[in-house]
């Protein structure tokens, strides 16, 4: 099959070889998550939701108590693929992708700022049309930013392939399953460093360099799009924002039921122990919080709660 038209140079879906599919990012799609995002790359559509930082749920999983524990689960919806097949949960492919996404996001999350806490990233594929792991990473970046998780950089991911002697950017499902090479790259955008790199099928060294270069360019384009998205939604990596859900949810109860409920929520859900040196940055919205820098224990007693106004 001809994946690149020899006359026009167009691909099966009408794109040029180095053309990316339409991108769409939307934050706050899951109301009850601490951060969430929908990311579309053409027909590939994924949702990412972030819960945390919160208390470590299963102490056995905590490897290093000086850093936040990052967890990730990748799941495909039953209807996400063309042929509907019920697959068992946690198959080998999903397990590997979960691992890859987790380690990629870990590379950018400032885990040392959130000791003894846990961040859960859940990615759900709604529609799979090639490049799901890239879309998941991009969605996870947006969701983490939405949750106000401190990150050292934006991570973006894009794939590229090599078919009909042409490097192709952002493969769709048809091109992906053509049996050619597929290179998925994840970069830390500002630092211009590669954190994720996966490829299969054989490629000569210099061709590989070209294909990887193309994928990196794709990542950069996605990074600028994601930055745009973040600007529109007033998200910032450097400023540690308090996730809006955590504040507004208990806020209702605060006005209704007294401040005890509020204290409880804050103390349990936000173990921002590394951040207590700068209490003023923690102030946001109509109700502010002042946490005493001395209380470094994550307890749900209101003892380390100095005052609200």
């Amino acid at each position: 099959m001809e994946y690149v038209n020899p006359l026009t140079g167009f691909r099966v879906d009408g794109r040029r070889p180095n053309e990316m599919r339409q991108l769409k990012g939307e934050v706050g799609v899951v109301a009850r998550a601490d951060g969430s995002a929908l990311f579309e790359m053409g027909n590939t559509r994924v949702i990412a939701a972030v819960y945390g930082p919160r208390e470590v749920q299963n102490k056995g999983q905590q490897v290093n108590s000086n850093e936040a524990l990052v967890r990730c689960e990748y799941r495909m919806a039953e209807f996400s693929t063309g042929d509907r097949r019920r697959k068992p949960k946690g198959d080998r492919r999903s397990t590997e992708i979960s691992l890859v996404i987790r380690q990629t996001m870990e590379a950018s999350i400032l885990t040392h700022l959130m000791p003894r806490s846990q961040i859960d990233i859940y990615v759900q594929v709604l529609q799979a049309d090639g490049g799901t792991r890239s879309a998941c990473i991009n969605a996870a970046t947006l969701a983490l930013a939405d949750a106000g998780i401190p990150m050292r950089d934006i991570v973006t991911s894009c794939s590229a392939g090599y078919l009909c002697s042409t490097p192709l950017l952002d493969l769709n499902y048809l091109e992906d399953s053509a049996g050619g090479s597929d290179v998925t790259v994840g970069i830390l955008a500002k630092m211009d460093k590669v954190t994720l790199l996966q490829m299969d099928a054989k490629l000569p060294m210099d061709t590989f360099e070209n294909v990887m270069g193309l994928a990196i360019e794709g990542c950069k384009a996605i990074a600028s799009y994601i930055q745009e998205c973040m600007q529109i939604n007033d998200l910032n990596l450097s400023k540690i924002a308090v996730p809006t859900m955590d504040i507004t949810q208990p806020l209702k109860s605060l006005t209704c039921c007294g401040w005890m409920a509020f204290v409880h929520c804050i103390a349990v859900h936000r173990n921002f122990l590394g951040l207590l040196e700068r209490p003023m940055e923690y102030v946001e919205g109509p109700v502010g919080l002042l946490l005493s820098p001395k209380s470094r224990r994550p307890q749900n007693s209101p003892s380390h709660f100095v005052g609200i106004w």
Partner: protein, 390 residues
């Protein structure tokens, strides 16, 4: 994953020591940054079994094959599957039973390197298109985890595949669909066609730009990121796995790939040398025709894997008998049968059965003289398998 907390974790001092040493280009075991540890490849008594020692890392590879129906979308190709077995004996962090994350990742990285780069010729494994193809199964047993499992397991897989011999079979009968599997005694079994050797080379990245190849267990516990590049000596990149972690410049990645090329050429020649000396030895044995004393190269692991004395006894007698008749034939009644009853036993049966016309029905193969209790219970397995497939 649940056993993650059992993984060895370096103390602050150990971590500091390893990192500080790397700053001055020193590794804790005295190697240079881009040196591999000592590689030792040995082979078991049977074709298709290998044992690789990379420093303290110890992996056993074991290849078997059986006739199966091909996948519908690839009717004229055989199949290759990689299975990994992480024993808690090798590392307390390995959970017994369900494969953990790292086991799955390892399996998939090796699978990508070998299968998707089409290192093993699959078309030549086809017997009757759409009906019978050889399904090659590579079992990788991690016996000791001293770091860099992927590279060691990859070498073990390649070495085992290189020495594997499958029984020859011919197609005949009235409808041209009858498959005859020839007894290894009658016709020499055939090796696999291996187009190229994809060698996995793992790099460990540490903060401040330090890179080493072939990280040890301790270095793995300290490193910030890892990249496994699977390359062959022709200069092709077959697979890469860098699953997140420490970011590196793309120029550094290309540099690593070039280093990997050199390492791959080196390892390829080591594997080839080991395989050559093994085959020569086998050929010599054939000439000598030693009836009684069977020259064996029994590896320690072979003994470990055998769990019941009676099975071993039976196996050895079978071996002796047949070798005395015709030295090069290798009977694959493996101790693995106990570990992997279903596939292994049906596989063993293909190999041991004498030349019986095995038409479209696999049952006809089962007629092949039952030799033991294991053989006797085979039909049940067989049926089970069939119903699974349908």
């Amino acid at each position: 994953m649940a056993m993650e907390h059992l993984r060895w974790r370096p103390t602050v001092n150990e971590r500091d020591f390893i990192e500080r040493a790397l700053q001055s280009d020193l590794r804790v075991d005295g190697r240079h940054s881009f040196d591999f540890r000592k590689l030792k490849i040995t082979f078991g008594r049977e074709d298709g079994s290998s044992e690789v020692q990379l420093g303290e890392t110890h992996v056993m590879g074991y290849v078997t094959a059986q006739l199966v129906q091909p996948y519908r979308d690839r009717p004229n190709e055989g199949t290759l599957a990689i299975f990994t077995e992480f024993s808690p004996m090798a590392d307390p962090a390995f959970e017994p039973g369900r494969p953990g994350e790292s086991a799955i990742e390892l399996g998939r990285v090796i699978d990508r390197g070998l299968r998707e780069s089409r290192a093993v010729d699959m078309e030549s494994l086809c017997v009757v298109a759409g009906k019978h193809v050889w399904s090659v199964r590579v079992d990788l047993h991690i016996l000791d985890n001293g770091g860099n499992l992927i590279d060691a397991a990859n070498i073990a897989a390649l070495a085992a595949l290189s020495t594997f011999r499958r029984p020859e079979c011919t197609v005949g009968g009235d409808d041209g669909q009858q498959v005859t599997v020839h007894d290894p005694e009658v016709r020499d079994p055939l090796p696999l066609t291996i187009h190229h050797m994809p060698i996995a080379v793992t790099f460990a990245y540490f903060g401040e730009g330090n890179i080493v190849v072939d990280p040890t267990y301790k270095e793995e516990a300290v490193m910030g990121g890892r990249m496994t590049a699977t390359v062959n000596s022709n200069g092709d990149v077959c697979a890469i796995q860098k699953a997140g972690g420490e970011g590196v410049m793309s120029s550094v990645i290309m540099q690593c790939l070039r280093i990997a090329l050199v390492k791959a050429a080196d390892i390829t020649s080591k594997i080839k040398k080991a395989v050559d000396s093994y085959t020569t030895e086998k050929a010599l044995k054939k000439v000598k025709r030693l009836p009684t004393s069977v020259p064996q190269k029994i590896s320690v692991t072979d003994v470990i894997m055998e769990d019941k004395g009676d099975g071993e006894l039976e196996k050895q007698t079978v071996d002796v008998q047949q070798i005395s008749k015709d030295p090069p034939t290798i009977v694959k009644v493996s101790s693995h049968e106990d570990a992997q009853p279903m596939t292994e036993s049906s596989n063993a049966e293909v190999n041991t059965s004498s030349a019986v016309a095995a038409g479209e029905s696999d049952e006809s193969q089962e007629i092949g003289s039952p030799k033991s209790l294991k053989d006797a219970i085979k039909p049940k397995h067989k049926r089970k398998k069939k119903s699974d497939k349908s």
